[in-house]
Structures are given as structure tokens and as C-alpha cells.
Symmetry: C2
Subunit: 639 residues, 2 copies
């Protein structure tokens, strides 16, 4: 990170004007090995480069060259919003460079910026798909064209760059784009909104970055304009893009999941920065209802492939879970903002769940292919996706190296490269740990005294977390630790021989610390059975296994020739095998291949192998499909 620049928001992905907690930056919180350290390394050394190569290969960065060289529209490749993936990649690179100082990546980012810059027009407009002879006119297709969405990602890239490096060409491009949007869609401009929210959250953050209220005002305009049938009629209905009712009136999320979540993130930002408590309360309720009724065990959101959308309450089919990777990222965006605003542990609980079971699930172990959707039940082995051509976006059976709409790989990349900020926060007189990872954490309290912590853990492999106080002032302060809801009564917390309350929520140790003090948190990470709400019809009579924050699954690769559809589990048998690994006692259903699958006898067509059965290994859901085509399920029917 360019340490010659000192800004209050340096290294911060999100910097609200106020809130219960203050964010720490990616410089303040440094992940050091372990589960997330490994993911960050693979992301930084493999996945980002992989995305650069694909964006070159499929011509999406080349679209900017074509724009400059007057070869548009004929040489345009990709969808109307292909620009946005270039910008999201640039955002990821900016955070990664900030995190690691990678000089090669710095040169490559500058090269990308140099190719984009000349495509920006005099008035700040930049888009390779609209506005030229033979293309659609600017803003002629707000429903599907995604011009403002693309600007939003450009602005986010500019913010990332400005907050890790300082003002440069990318920041200036972003500023000109943001100014253009304010001009074109301001009070006296077009009274439209973008079919895909994103510009709102970008402008709200750009207002924070620049200190210029006009960008927040424009974000507010977009938020308030939406929900009144502002966009045109489309077949999916106006709820698809949250244009059926104002976001402040919505009691639960509907429509396209990523759109709903990006809009919600912007609404929280706007509520916080303008002090609009009513809007904030509304968003808290909307998120609470969505989490309670429309969220998968993995934290995934979006039950419908059609429209990539939320289902209705408790409609959560595991085998048709859309659970788009980008919706996981969007959920983390929303929940992180609500965590900062309220300080409530439940938001960090959901972030943890979503990180381990959606964000971590998307990239393959080698970082070179990705899930776009994240099904909880793969009934049939899929086909290997093309290694050389972009895949359709919803092919969920195996990870693909690139997609025709490739929003997810770059969204994961920017999330992982800025992950540190999610781990901890500070207040005037305290430090809060929300996510547990081997890391170093630096904060400064209101009285100017430093707090430096070293977190030692191989969580979630084991549940032991040691927090070593490396620096501290002499005065008392409060160390807060999130106790996950899933820990029940089984978490243990101690410091200097003294035990502390570790009930789910926030555990607090308020005392004077000395360098070398150790706080020890033990979270119960032995495997446990989890059962669904009986209103979720699609998984009635089934159970899942979780292990700490990790959702487990059974994969056919471990089933000695069986597929997962016949698995029947015994929930009374132990969940650990003799080696202490997570496993379940299963039988395999024997089915009669009849002519009509409905009959007069319950389970008439099912017989199962003797109850002795066999033990079957469970693996983390996020790890599935790393061993070739397979079938997989999270929810296992009980015998």
C-alpha cells in the first residue's frame, strides 16, 4: 500500500459517516495464512491473473481498444455490460496491490487503465456498447443495457484505487464518470434508473471518498426514483428489478437477487449517511425477513433460476438453488454495512456462513474455474465445461473457467482481495473481532493508544482461537468477540485464567491488557446435525451436517459407485468415524424402476439395505466438485 498517502479512509472498502462500529482497513487487518490466507494467495496469484487472461482472450478489454480505434460496433464482443467485468477485475487488482504491493500486478493494472482511458468521452461517458453510430443511443435501454451498472463498477474500482494508492488516472476516470452520471441523471436530467442497481452503492461510497455530498444526493435520487414503475414493463415483472415498490417499503427481498442486494446495500449506506433512521429500520426488517425465510443453509440467496431471483417465503429447493455467487457477495455487502451500523453479531454470523459456503465454494481449489450458481443438490453428473470457450452462466454441475456473463469470478476476486476489512472493527474504546482467521490486527483507540493483536488459529479446522495482545495502552479497553449462534452453549472464553461469558452474540472482555496477554476462545467445531424449518417443503424429512461455520455434503466420489440420490442417513448414529473425521452412517435406498412414480403405499417402492449400512465421509460443501464430475447433496433424507 502506498504509505505516503494518509487518508482517514485509506484501505477501507466501506467508510460510513457514522455507525456503531468503525471499519478497519485492509492494512489494519492482515490475514496471515490459514484457511483465508490460502484463499487470498490463490486469488492474488492465480485467479486474478486468470481473469486478466480471459478478459483479454474474449475481447472484453479489447472492446475499449476497438472503441478508440473506431472499430465499434462491428468488433464488440460479449454482452452489453462486458465493460463491468473489466472494472471489477480492476477493483480486485487495486485491492490486491494495496494488500501485497505486487509490482507486476501494478504494471498490469496501469496497462489496463491506459487502454480504458482514451475510450472515455469528453463529457465523462464511457461504454463500449452504446452511443456510437450503429449502436443503441446512450441510455436507450435502461432496463437491460446496464450502462449505469457499469459506471458503478468503474467508480468502485476508482474508490479502491484511491484508497490504496491515491489519486491517479483510474480515480480521475471514475470521477469524470461519476460527474457525468450526476449531470445526466440529476435533478434536471433523465429521470430514469438503471435496470441493475449498483450505481447507487458506488455513488454513496464515492461521496464518502470525495467528501462531496452531490454523489450521495445522486445515489438518493436513484434510490427514491426506483419502485414507482420507473422502468419499462418486462416479462419477469417489475419486481425483477425492484421497481414495483420503493425499497423503503419492501418487507422482504424479491426479484433478481443480486439487484435486490446491491440496492439494499446502497439503501443502508444512504440511511446511515443521511441519518434516516426510518430507512435504516426498514432495511433491517427487510434483511431479517429475507434471512429468516428466503436464505439457504449455505447463506446463499436466490431460489429461482428463472430471473435469477428470490422465491417466495420458504421456497428453497436444494436442487434448483440458484444461489448465485454474486448474490453471496451482495449479501456480504449488505450484512457488513448493517454490522457497522448496528454492531449486531447476527450480521457477522451470516457473513461467516456466506464466506465459507458461497464465496469459498465458487473458485475451484486451483483458482482457475468458478461456480456461478451454487446448488445444494446435484442429481446427475454434469459435463466438463469448455476449457477454451465461455460457458453458459447457470451450468452448476462443474466449475467453468469463464462465463458468457462472467460477473462471479471478478466479484469473488474483489471480495477476497479486500477480505481483511471484514474481520475486525473498532470503537472509541474497543476492538471487535467478527471473523476468525490467523491475522494481525492494528487499531488506535480514541485516546490515541494503540491496540495490536495477533490472532493464532487454524479455524475452522479446529475451534481454538488464541488472541495475543502485542501492543496496548495502559488504560482499560474492551475486546469484543463474536460468538456464533451455531455455537449454542458450547463456546468457551478465557483470559489470564479467568472465564468470560461466551453465549451466542457478542462476548466482551473489558479490562486493562498488557502486551503478551492471551485471550483464548474455543468454538465447538465437531460435526452436528441441522434440521430445516418445517415450512421448507423441499427438504422435509432430511437433515444436514454442519461443522462450525462449514456446511458439509456427501459427494458421490466417496460413495463407491452409488450416487447421492439413494442416500438415507441415520441421525442417531455418531458423526465422527474412528479417525475423528466427519462422516455419516448411511443406507442406500433400493428403488423399483416402475412405470408411474405415484402409488397407494407410502414408500412402497423403497427398500433399503440392512441398517448396518456403512459410514460415508462428509466433505465441506465448498470443496465439492474438485474431483471430477459427481453427484452431491447437502440435505440427506433420514432413514
Amino acid at each position: 500500500m502506498n504509505t505516503t498517502v494518509t487518508r482517514a479512509d485509506f484501505g477501507l472498502p466501506v467508510a460510513p459517516a457514522r455507525g456503531a462500529l468503525r471499519p478497519l482497513s485492509i492494512g489494519d487487518v492482515r490475514i496471515a495464512g490459514g484457511y483465508w490466507g490460502h484463499k487470498q494467495t490463490v486469488n492474488g496469484t492465480v485467479s486474478i491473473r486468470h481473469a486478466e487472461e480471459w478478459i483479454e482472450k474474449v475481447g472484453w478489454i479489447g472492446n475499449f481498444d476497438a472503441a478508440v480505434e473506431g472499430r465499434l460496433p462491428q468488433d464488440h464482443t460479449g454482452r452489453s455490460f462486458a465493460d463491468s467485468d473489466v472494472y471489477k477485475l480492476m477493483e480486485a487488482m487495486a485491492w490486491e496491490i494495496g494488500r501485497t504491493g505486487d509490482a507486476g500486478m501494478e504494471r498490469r493494472l496501469q496497462a489496463l487503465v491506459a487502454r480504458i482511458a482514451p475510450a472515455q468521452e469528453e463529457d465523462g461517458y464511457i461504454n463500449t456498447y452504446f452511443g456510437r453510430p450503429g449502436q443503441g443511443a446512450r441510455y436507450s435501454d435502461l432496463e437491460w443495457g446496464h450502462e449505469l451498472y457499469s459506471f458503478g463498477h468503474l467508480i468502485q474500482a476508482g474508490i479502491a484505487r484511491g484508497r490504496t494508492h491515491g489519486e491517479d488516472e483510474l480515480v480521475r476516470i471514475a470521477r469524470r464518470a461519476a460527474d457525468h452520471v450526476c449531470e445526466a441523471f440529476g435533478e434536471n436530467g433523465l429521470q430514469g434508473v438503471c435496470g441493475h442497481p449498483e450505481i447507487e452503492v458506488a455513488l454513496a461510497e464515492f461521496a464518502r471518498y470525495t467528501g462531496d455530498r452531490k454523489y450521495l444526493d445522486q445515489a438518493l435520487r436513484f434510490i427514491e426514483r426506483r419502485g414507482h414503475g420507473t422502468l419499462g414493463q418486462i416479462e419477469f415483472g417489475q419486481s425483477y428489478f425492484q421497481d414495483d415498490q420503493p425499497v423503503r417499503d419492501a418487507k422482504v427481498m424479491t426479484g433478481h437477487s443480486v439487484r435486490a442486494l446491491y440496492l439494499a446495500a446502497a439503501a443502508v449506506d444512504a440511511a446511515v449517511d443521511t441519518g434516516d433512521g426510518e430507512l435504516l429500520d426498514g432495511m433491517i426488517e427487510q434483511v431479517a425477513n429475507t434471512v429468516a425465510r428466503r436464505t439457504y443453509l449455505t447463506g446463499g440467496m436466490g431460489a429461482h433460476h428463472e430471473g435469477e431471483s428470490f422465491g417466495v417465503d420458504y421456497e428453497l429447493p436444494p436442487d434448483r438453488a440458484y444461489s448465485e455467487t454474486c448474490a453471496g457477495v451482495g449479501s456480504i455487502m449488505v450484512n457488513y454495512r448493517l454490522l457497522l451500523a448496528t454492531g449486531e453479531a447476527k450480521y457477522a454470523d451470516l457473513i461467516e456462513r456466506t464466506l465459507f459456503n458461497v464465496v469459498a465454494a465458487s473458485p475451484a481449489e486451483d483458482g482457475r474455474s468458478f461456480f456461478y450458481t451454487n446448488t445444494l443438490h446435484q442429481r446427475e453428473q454434469g459435463q466438463e465445461p469448455s476449457a477454451t470457450e465461455p460457458s453458459p452462466r447457470a451450468s452448476s454441475s462443474l466449475r467453468a473457467p469463464w462465463f458468457e456473463v462472467s460477473c462471479c469470478p471478478t466479484n469473488v476476486a474483489r471480495t477476497l482481495s479486500s477480505l481483511g476489512a471484514l474481520l475486525a472493527t473498532t470503537t472509541d474504546n474497543g476492538v471487535q473481532l467478527h471473523q476468525y482467521a490467523a491475522s494481525g490486527i492494528s487499531a488506535r483507540l480514541a485516546d490515541g493508544s494503540p491496540v495490536v493483536l495477533r490472532v493464532e488459529t487454524d479455524y475452522p479446522r479446529s475451534g481454538g482461537i488464541r488472541i495475543v495482545v502485542e501492543e496496548t495502552g495502559a488504560a482499560a479497553w474492551e475486546l469484543s468477540l463474536r460468538i456464533p449462534a451455531w455455537a449454542g452453549d458450547d463456546a468457551r472464553l478465557a483470559c489470564a485464567g479467568e472465564s468470560y461469558d461466551a453465549a451466542p452474540g457478542t462476548a466482551r472482555i473489558s479490562r486493562t491488557f498488557s502486551p503478551g496477554d492471551v485471550v483464548e476462545l474455543e468454538l465447538p467445531v465437531q460435526p452436528r446435525w441441522t434440521f430445516p424449518d418445517p415450512r421448507i417443503d423441499a427438504v422435509r424429512g432430511a437433515a444436514a451436517v454442519e461443522r462450525g461455520p462449514v456446511v458439509m455434503c456427501v459427494e458421490s466420489t466417496d460413495l463407491h459407485g452409488h450416487d447421492v440420490n439413494g442416500v438415507r442417513v441415520d441421525t442417531s448414529a455418531p458423526l465422527l468415524d474412528e479417525e475423528g473425521a466427519a462422516s455419516v452412517q448411511v443406507r442406500f435406498g433400493q428403488f423399483d424402476d416402475g412405470t408411474w412414480p405415484y402409488g397407494a403405499c407410502a414408500r412402497a417402492q423403497e427398500d433399503t439395505e440392512p441398517a448396518s449400512g456403512e459410514r460415508v465421509k462428509l466433505i465441506p460443501y465448498a470443496s465439492w466438485a474438485n474431483r471430477g464430475p459427481s453427484t452431491m447433496r447437502v440435505w440427506m433424507p433420514t432413514a
Copy 2:
């Protein structure tokens, strides 16, 4: 019907060159009141007129006027295949006029023909969406343009007209179109196929109608060309339009359901008329696997909203059942052809199920609104669709008067107006009854002797069916009656005091009959519990009630303020109430509105009202949503 014309295929929707059974025409089988008589009357007097009005109102017939007057493309309304709905309406009108001799409808049909005719070009091409300056070129979008699909429906209308009236302008238009297709896509023409099968089944039937083999050859060309990646790459994948593998190699239906079913119908026609036993066997297997693994209890097909497509085996979510009405029609087309080819009762079983639970479900009781999709579980009350504007096609909560893609209303109309043909068939020395309805049936055996039967029944209200022999020759012949699989061992069959075997399948009475003889069949139509194959995860732990061929459901309208999601049924309690009506003993789940819908205890969040519960009325699934917005479910969780 124009009785001055005598053709062997007069009044026959389908006239195969050979087969186990010979079809009877809509003149030979006259439905007389009862369940289907009422449906036919509503269709003929209300729904067809309703469709005529909407096709006028939304401008789809006006597109032809615009073509003639040179106002295209600017005045075109509707989708690229809007023409096809005009043609399907004309087909329905032709059958209806043939059935009833409705003189007013005859004038209106001729008026429609007169508006279409001048839009046909010199070479037989006719389409209002392609081929003019400013429009796409002819056949420039075979994937989505549906030009050949539209021709197929035009040809079907011509066949219906020719077989109920005789050669006239509509038949000539159809012939010129068919000739054009053979020319344009023949051996030396374009080597393409249509994204949506339909031309194949139309040309195969047109070959039968004209006796000209060239149309069958062209149908075969389309069938054989398909399945080799002939069409372009689309996001849904090539299986969407059955272009991933030849239809003769497919072991089960995949992709868009209506496309798969129309193609299958054509493949059966081609197999039968060319004597291709291998292809016929392949289609028999493909249909058997589809019925056994990918079909809803209602007979509905298509588990995915996305792509309107089949799911994988046993993926049959009730709350996201697409089960398009047109797929029900397509399934009847396929199963009727296989019934004629093989004589096996199972095909008539599925036709019955699909008629009572898909085709009958689509139109509202008043015949003025329609389901496009047929969900088996409506979780939330829907909104009333627009009475004045076309609705999106997949809005399944309430029937809509018209759709932006309005294939279903006209598909139901043509099915109901030609329904008689599905009821009975003949062989050299026998008559077979497949569907039971109050009706008169006339056949002539190979020896020239007549068989005239009168069927008296109010089936499915009661299970008693009286078949009165009105005319018969002196020689013995065989009366065959389908005994539905659902009847189990409980069907009873008697004639002249003698009992006959009535096991599921085909019951045969082979004897000499005299006028006045009565055959009495009693089918068990008391309500019965039905349970799903345990591989259908989505309805595990739930049961449904059927009554004869009728699938029942519970609708919130009958639940005194409860919605259906809390219903828990006791499958050990009787299914009849004191008045003898179908009803179930239910409890209503009391749910804790928690914050996270997964937990450590099975059903921890569920409590139910005392076991005494209450009795709740069941209604036929096909009747739901006739009493305003409601919730509904077919599969009820067991207590």
C-alpha cells in the same frame, strides 16, 4: 360437418397409415353432456369467441391486414410467432364447426381466412414478422423466429378444415405453405430446422391428408437433421430445442417440454407411417422413461420455469411446477399416437390424467381466462391479472384472459373441440373405449356391420358407466374397455348378468351383442391416498388425494383464514365426510417466526393444533382458483 364430402379420414385429427387401433372421428364419437360435454360447450360458445376477440384486440390478426396494406414492420404487434395463435384458433374453429355446424362461427372463420389469404406471397411463404424491408430476412433466425413452427400450425388448421369441410381457401393456403416449406428446406434447400418443432407433426399429417409422400419425406428430413447441433448455440444449451442428440437416440425427454413433446409426436407419426420399428421402439422407451421419472401427478410435464423445460429424473418441485398447459396438450398428442400404434391402455391412462388435471385446469369455469402454467402448490395469494392487457406467460397464481405469448388458450380450444376422437377407436372386429364420457359412438367393423353405442355416465362424479348397444351386426365382436391403473382390483364389469375380468389394462368382452344389450362398468371413484416415489425429494413426507382420475387439492378458500402452508394431514383418518364429500382430517402447524430457519432440533419450530383438528374440504385440482386469490396445494405434509 359437411356430409357431402366423404373421405376415409373425415373428422380425424390423426390418421396413421397403420397401427394396432384405428381412430374414430369427431363425427363418429359425439360427446353428449356430462363433464366433457360441458367443457366442450363452454369452449365452443365462450372460449373460442374470447380468443377471437383478443386476437383482434391485440392486433395479431391485424398483423395480416398490415402486411397486405404495406404497414409492416412498423405496425406489427406481438412476438415473432403471433401468427401461430391465429392459426391455432382457426384450427379450433374448424373442428368446432365440424362438430356443431355453428354457422356464425363458419362466417367468422371465413372472414379470418379472407384476411390471411392476401398476405401469402407468390411462393407460398406467409409470415407477418419476417421478410419485408426493415424486418429480418426469411429464415434468418431459425432458433427463435418460429417461422416453420407457424407454418406447422397453419398446416394443422388446413388439415382440420379439409377433414371437416373439404378443400377450400384455408386448405389451399396450407398446401401452398407446405409446398413452400418442402421447396425451401428440401434436399437442395436450406439444411436447417426450426427452433420449435411443430412443422414435423404438421407435415406428417399433411402427407396423410393429401396422400402425398413428399410431405412425410420433408418431415423426416427435419426429424433426422435435428440433434446434430444444427441450430446455433444458445444460453440454454442445445438440449433446449432437442438439438443435442437425434430424437431416436434420446432415452428421456429433455429441454423445452412442448418442443420435446411435439417432436416426439412427429417421430411417432414418422415411425408408424414408414414402418420404422426401431424408431417406434425408441419413442416408446423415451416416453416410458419420461412418464416414470419426469411427470407430475397431474400428468403435467416440465419442472423448470427457466427454459420451460423438463428437469432431471425425479426433480419435480410442486411449487415451481411449470407444467405448461401446452405441454399437457403435447403429451396427449404423443400418447394418443402411441395408443393408436400399440393399443396399450397405459397411454390412455395418461391421456385421462392429463385431460382431467391439466387441460381441464387451464380454463376458468367461465371459459374466459386460462392457466399457462399449472403449479401444484401456490404458496402466496397472487394478484388479479389484468383484464384488459395481456399477462406475462408464467404468472401461475390466477388465470389470465390473454398472454403476451398466448399459445395455451388456443391449444386448449383445439383439443376440446376435437376431443371426441380421443374417446374410442376401432379394429377389424372390435370397438375400444378409452375415455369415459356420456357419448354416442358409431363404428363399422371390417365385415361392414355397424356398431352404435350409447355411453351413459356422469363420470367422474360417479364411477358407473353404462354402455348401451344401439346397433350391432349379428356376428360376434369384441368390446374393449380401458380399466385405469388407478382402479386397482376394484373395477367391476358385467354384461347381461355375466361378470368379466376388469383388471387394470384392457378388459375385453367378446361375444355376440343384440341391440339393447347393456355393459356395465363400475370404476372405484371414492377418494384415495396417493404417495410419491421416495426419489421425488420435493414432496417427501407428503401425500395427495385422488378421486378416480381426478387429482384433488386443498385451497385456502376452504380453510377459514388459514393458508395451505400449515396444513398437516392425518392419512389414517377417513377421506369422506358425513355428506360423502371428499375431505381430509387436518391440523394446522403453528410456527415460530424465528430468525434463522435451520436448527439443531428436528421440527423444533413446529407445533400443531390438537390432534382433533378439523375436516377440510378437498376440491378437484382443476377447479382451483375459481373463487378469487387463494393458496393451494396438492401434496399435503403428513402429520
